[in-house]
């Protein structure tokens, strides 16, 4: 503040040269507190924060929501119940609590806490991160079905879903892993919380936000009418994690409660393209060529990793420009080299245009070399982080290719455990489910008639 005062005072005294040369103007003495006869000097009052128990309430709501969603999806198989629960979650975690704290964003807090020993993460945030993961290990992605407010809002608008071509679905699905890597990279290096910055729906939850974010959110919702849950499927970094864990979950939503009659109705009903059809028997030829392809892809893996690392390392400079310290150092260097734009002051002619940040830095009296040293350190750190990020992207692409060439045998229509969000839309379409509910009597007669 003193620096600011100095700058302003000299500006008033029509001494812009003093600002430029950083000539110290003696600080003005404080005007003393008057001796009042009656008046009593008031204390500064601060409004109370939101009560402490709110966070425990949120945690309670999360546990109750996860349990209810798992029960509704796996035991009572109630699409209606899941839908109501999704609306309730949207109202509570979305509109009432305004989208923070959420497990998606908590990835970054956990990453930052893991890499930066000076940052302490509130344990409620750790619990928000871990609980849905643990639930997914047992019950599949029931968090996505009805607890996540971002999922809920997209679930509501998915009314005219079209089928995304399989190749495009697989390719876009990789984006979520890349985004996860980027989110962890930026959080762990203390650069930014990108997942929160580009959360498309939080502006809606708050009925306000920047125009671009509102437009982005509206875009996702409009696309979401035709392509079910675009954010969850192609971007959500937490969804990527949950998808991986869901593959090994102890229990998972099953479409037919008894036997599958292979009617394909569920596959048509799923707006998220998450139902896999039964496989056909392979000929010996295709099997051999499939094996050869798998072998080649496995050999390709180290190449992908290497190329990814190399590309990631090239990102050092562009990545570092996002770090505030590096940004400031570049600006200072730019100004000192006389390459910043000039502006006219009217009195002393042209001076170098400064930014708020550079002015504040010069006022702080910190040595420029010190700033440069820190900026170089950060750039180097971001270079290594970029290399790791590139390796991660290479790994993700490699695993995807290998995964696609590994053959799984399926007898019935089954949900794809990674992609299925346990929304329960398919239940109602399953004749086997209708028979269970007593709505039709003879399942077998329907099957045997052509």
């Amino acid at each position: 503040m003193i620096g600011l005062r100095r700058t302003l005072l000299s500006a008033i005294l029509m001494l812009p040269a003093a600002v430029m040369l950083q000539v110290a103007v003696p600080a003005v003495a404080q005007i003393p507190l008057p001796d009042f006869t009656e008046y009593e000097i008031p204390d500064t009052v601060h409004p109370a924060a939101s009560p402490d128990w709110y966070e425990y309430l949120d945690l309670g709501a999360l546990v109750v929501g996860l349990s209810a969603a798992s029960y509704l999806a796996l035991v009572s198989r109630s699409r209606r119940g899941l839908f109501v629960l999704a609306i309730a979650s949207l109202a509570w975690l979305g509109f009432w609590r305004q989208g923070c704290v959420c497990p998606i964003g908590a990835i970054q807090n956990v990453a930052l806490a893991a890499f930066d020993p000076t940052y302490a993460v509130p344990w409620v945030v750790v619990a928000f991160f871990v609980l849905p993961l643990v639930f997914t290990l047992f019950f599949g992605r029931t968090f996505c079905a009805a607890v996540c407010p971002l999922g809920a809002v997209q679930e509501l608008v998915a009314v005219r879903p079209i089928r995304v071509p399989t190749w495009l679905d697989h390719a876009l699905g990789l984006l979520a892993y890349v985004y996860l890597g980027a989110g962890v990279l930026f959080a762990a290096t203390g650069t930014a919380f990108v997942i929160c910055r580009y959360d498309p729906f939080v502006a809606f939850f708050r009925f306000g936000g920047s125009r671009n974010m509102l437009l982005l959110g509206a875009g996702f919702l409009v696309v979401g009418i035709f392509i079910g849950r675009p954010y969850c499927r192609y971007l959500c970094p937490y969804g990527a994690l949950l998808g991986l864990l869901s593959k090994v979950s102890a229990w998972h939503v099953e479409i037919p409660p008894t036997e599958c009659i292979q009617c394909k109705l569920c596959e048509d009903a799923c707006p998220y393209g998450a139902i896999r059809e039964p496989t056909v028997t392979q000929s010996a030829d295709t099997r051999t060529s499939g094996r050869r392809r798998l072998g080649l892809l496995l050999l390709l893996m180290p190449v992908l990793l290497g190329v990814g690392t190399w590309f990631g390392f090239q990102l050092m400079v562009p990545l570092s420009r996002l770090h505030p310290t590096v940004c400031l150092a570049e600006r200072i260097r730019w100004e000192d080299a006389g390459r910043a734009r000039l502006k006219s002051t009217g009195v002393s002619g042209m001076v170098v245009e400064t930014t708020d940040a550079s002015e504040a830095f010069r006022d702080s009296g910190r040595a420029v070399e010190d700033l440069y040293r820190e900026a170089m350190q950060q750039t180097e750190r971001l270079g290594y982080a970029g290399g790791l990020f590139g390796a991660w992207v290479g790994l993700v692409i490699g695993i995807k290719l290998v995964h696609l060439s590994v053959r799984r045998r399926r007898v019935d229509y089954q949900p794809d455990r990674a992609g299925c969000v346990s929304c329960g839309r398919c239940f109602w379409y399953c004749p086997s489910e209708q028979a269970r509910l007593g709505l039709i009597d003879h399942l077998t007669t329907n099957v045997e008639e052509p």
């Binding site: 302003l8 404080q30 507190l33 402490d52 966070e55 923070c100 306000g208 708020d356 940040a357």
Partner: protein, 201 residues
């Protein structure tokens, strides 16, 4: 059929192993973070008034339509001046409360006459928080004199975003997370004055 059962079993066994490892891993991570790198309290955002340069980003970058940052008066540092540089613009004003004489764009800085001593008139300046938009114009003006006006995040308004938008836009990185039990920050000078006052009884 027997072969298929065996295959399923093998896959089931592997899934089970990964699952157990996952639970143990997640539990371990939560445990480590929970004990080593955590604190039970929530964090809230606050800005350090010593670093603040009243750039007006607080007014424009908050996710709320009306910023959670407002101006605060630390009375012990105030000079109770007649000619307040936080209240009046530097030039072209008359010494009265007419709207054209306000530095504050929203009439949030309220000027009240207290008393006159030896021909010097003293005024109290308070913030009407309902009107304050956190633009910091008065803060910038007051910094010319005593600097008793400063900006603070108001925790009844702040929604405590995981990434504070103002913190991202702040040119001096004055924003930081503080424990929820100590949610406000003071200028160093203000803290000294408070300590002095406490010592005097």
């Amino acid at each position: 059929m027997a072969e298929q059962d065996k295959r399923l079993d093998r896959r089931g066994f592997m899934a089970g192993t990964v699952r157990v490892a996952g639970v143990v891993g997640l539990g371990g991570m939560a445990g480590v973070l929970g004990t080593q790198r955590s604190q039970s309290e929530e964090y809230v955002w606050q800005l350090d008034p010593d670093k603040c340069m009243a750039c007006t980003n607080c007014q424009t970058h908050c996710v709320l339509d009306e910023s959670a940052v407002k101006c605060v008066q630390f009375f012990l540092m105030c000079g109770f001046c007649d000619i307040c540089t936080g209240y009046f613009p530097i030039e072209n004003y008359e010494l009265n409360t007419g709207a054209e004489n306000h530095l504050c764009p929203t009439n949030a800085l309220v000027r009240t006459f207290i008393e006159e001593q030896a021909g010097v008139r003293y005024f109290e300046y308070t913030i009407d928080e309902v009107n304050c938009i956190g633009c910091g114009k008065c803060v910038e003006g007051c910094a010319l004199m005593n600097g008793s006006l400063y900006l603070q995040v108001r925790h009844d308004r702040c929604v405590n975003c995981n990434e504070c938008s103002i913190a991202v836009a702040c040119p001096t990185q004055a924003f930081r997370r503080v424990p929820a039990s100590e949610p406000n920050l003071l200028m160093k000078k203000a803290q000294e004055l408070l300590d002095q006052k406490a010592q005097q009884g």
